[in-house]
């Protein structure tokens, strides 16, 4: 049992989060229980407004939970944030418009005091990784929305955080690029052993990528199903046509449907 696989990186126990708004309290997360182990690839899937972003932001200490306990690397989320435990890819690219693409990717590296040479080298590498080679000198507005989103992924990959929190990173991309980036992400994950939390609206994407799929439902946001994927860790794209894959996708769809019936 002392294997790394049972090493909880993120642990949520009865997590509740209530937003106090002008129109009264909004329960964004209700009784969320979840364990994410080291090296897991966890997808969060669920209808709009079910609290996926809120859960990810809580893990990142961008929101404070109002009940239960949430730990990241056995610390409070805020301590983990200060230890720079994670990289975050936001739902919107959010590049700084006055910095070039390379400048945006360099931003976290500058803040974390990497050397100039190291910064240049890493920028090159992650730009290659997201297929933006040669776009480093462009400003964000000179790139399409999907390219900007890839640049923001590169920005989160540039420094070596063990946890990667990604909020619909591929939502704005076309199918082909999305497939390629999914493959790249899996390779990166296999190579680096990062722990990845990944929000998506796409069932095939969730099933293809994940070792664990978390199905959520709204009002109040809660987890309705957690599926441990039996798929092998090496996954060619055509695994999506296998019977196993289709069976898992079916279970996810059923889970999502059940959530909708509740409403």
């Amino acid at each position: 049992m002392a294997k790394t696989a049972s090493n909880p990186v993120i642990e949520a126990r009865d997590v509740n989060l209530v937003f106090q708004t002008a129109d009264g309290p909004v329960q964004a997360l209700k009784d969320v229980n979840l364990v994410v182990n080291k090296g897991d690839f966890v997808s969060f899937i669920g209808p709009s407004g079910c609290g996926k972003t809120t859960l990810l932001r809580s893990i990142a200490a961008l929101e404070a939970v109002t009940g239960g306990s949430l730990t990241v690397n056995a610390m409070t989320p805020d301590q983990a944030r200060m230890a720079r435990a994670y990289g975050y890819v936001f739902q919107a690219a959010g590049l700084y418009p006055w910095r070039t693409i390379a400048g945006n990717i360099a931003l976290p590296l500058e803040i974390m005091r990497f050397s100039k040479a190291e910064i240049a080298e890493r920028c090159e590498r992650v730009l290659d990784l997201v297929e933006l080679t040669g776009f480093g000198r462009k400003f964000p507005w000179q790139l399409s929305g999907g390219m900007q989103q890839r640049a923001s992924i590169a920005r989160a990959l540039a420094f070596d955080a063990d946890i990667l929190l990604m909020d619909e990173p591929f939502g704005a991309l076309d199918e082909i690029v999305r497939d390629r980036l999914n493959e790249e992400l899996l390779k990166l994950w296999a190579r680096t052993g990062k722990t990845i939390c990944f929000v998506t609206h796409s069932i095939p994407e969730a099933v293809y990528l994940s070792t664990k799929i978390v199905v959520m439902s709204p009002r109040p946001g809660r987890i309705t199903d957690v599926i441990d994927s039996p798929l092998p860790s090496v996954r060619p794209l055509d695994i999506r046509d296998s019977a196993e894959f289709i069976a898992i996708a079916h279970r996810v769809r059923e889970g999502l449907r059940a959530g909708h019936v509740d409403v």
Binding site: Y96, P97, T100, I111
Partner: protein
């Protein structure tokens, strides 16, 4: 081209109104002079010509002002005490020093305000109050107090300039430093960036367009401050001194020429700030036209 036509139209309109006003305003003096000399007052075109060529008209005609302006800028050595270049430079140097002081002070106060709750609550009311004090009332006091401390010349004028120009910069920069949206701040938070880092890498770059808008107001205010600061100095040098000595001796043409010079200097300074703004924003990747 499309910009020149409207501007020319406005300039032409102003000049014709100006001429139209000069004739009746200067007529009384002509009639007076004629009565004293016991000759009939000129009429028709003679009257018009006479009113536009007086030595000390109530309202000098545009061509008189233009001639005086030309004479006192290009017609004299720049070291001459009548040269507007000489006086203009005295005023501009005080303006620039005051502008630099005021801008730095405004930026520093704004940085303090966005980082410190106590300053946020306390500084703004004082800054606003400072601007409600008539500058004409406070300028002589500054000059006199500084004089008593043995400081004369450029510095007291620059301080009055700074007093007027820090305020627009303060207001613009507070808004600018707060202009990044929540997501942009969140990103910095995920990097656990320190407040100085956030200031340097996020707040300051975001505030640049706001800063330049303020600087344009600020540099014009600086010029006004420098000119006002020259008025109580005993009318020695500077555009303000030219204005004052002109009014002592009823030299209306000189007053108007100095006023014109001040307006040209103001337009020039604002245009320079505008050019620096365009160059800076372009380097920062702001899209042409979109700001």
């Amino acid at each position: 081209m499309s910009r020149i036509l409207p501007i020319l139209t406005v300039v032409l309109a102003i000049i014709s109104i100006w001429y139209g006003a000069a004739v009746p305003m200067n007529t009384a003096w002509e009639v007076d002079q004629a009565a004293r000399a016991g000759v009939p007052a000129p009429v028709g075109m003679d009257l018009v010509a006479a009113t536009l060529a007086q030595d000390r008209p109530v309202l000098p005609a545009p061509h008189q002002v233009a001639a005086e302006l030309y004479k006192s800028t290009f017609g004299l050595k720049v070291t001459s005490p009548k040269s507007l270049i000489y006086h203009g430079w005295i005023t501009i140097s005080a303006t620039l020093v005051g502008f630099a002081i005021g801008t730095s002070f405004g930026i520093l106060l704004a940085v303090g305000i966005v980082h410190n709750r106590a300053m946020d609550a306390s500084v703004m009311p004082w800054a606003i109050a400072s601007q409600t004090i008539p500058i004409l009332a406070i300028a002589p006091m500054i000059i006199v107090v500084m004089n008593a401390l043995g400081v004369q010349g450029l510095i007291p004028k620059a301080i009055i300039s700074a007093f007027l120009s820090f305020f627009p910069v303060l207001v613009g920069m507070v808004k600018g430093l707060r202009s990044p949206d929540a997501a942009q701040f969140d990103l910095m938070k995920t990097y656990n960036a320190s407040a100085p880092k956030v200031l340097w890498a996020l707040r300051l770059p975001s505030s640049v367009p706001y800063l330049f808008a303020s600087l344009k107001v600020g540099i014009a205010a600086s010029l006004v401050g420098a000119i006002v600061g020259e008025m109580p100095t005993g009318a020695v040098a500077g555009l303000g001194a030219r204005l004052l000595s002109g009014s002592y001796y009823g030299q209306t043409v000189q007053i108007w020429a100095a006023l014109m010079a001040a307006a040209i200097v103001a337009a020039g300074l604002v245009a320079i700030v505008g050019a620096v703004e365009r160059a800076t924003l372009q380097r920062m990747g702001y899209r042409e036209g979109a700001r």
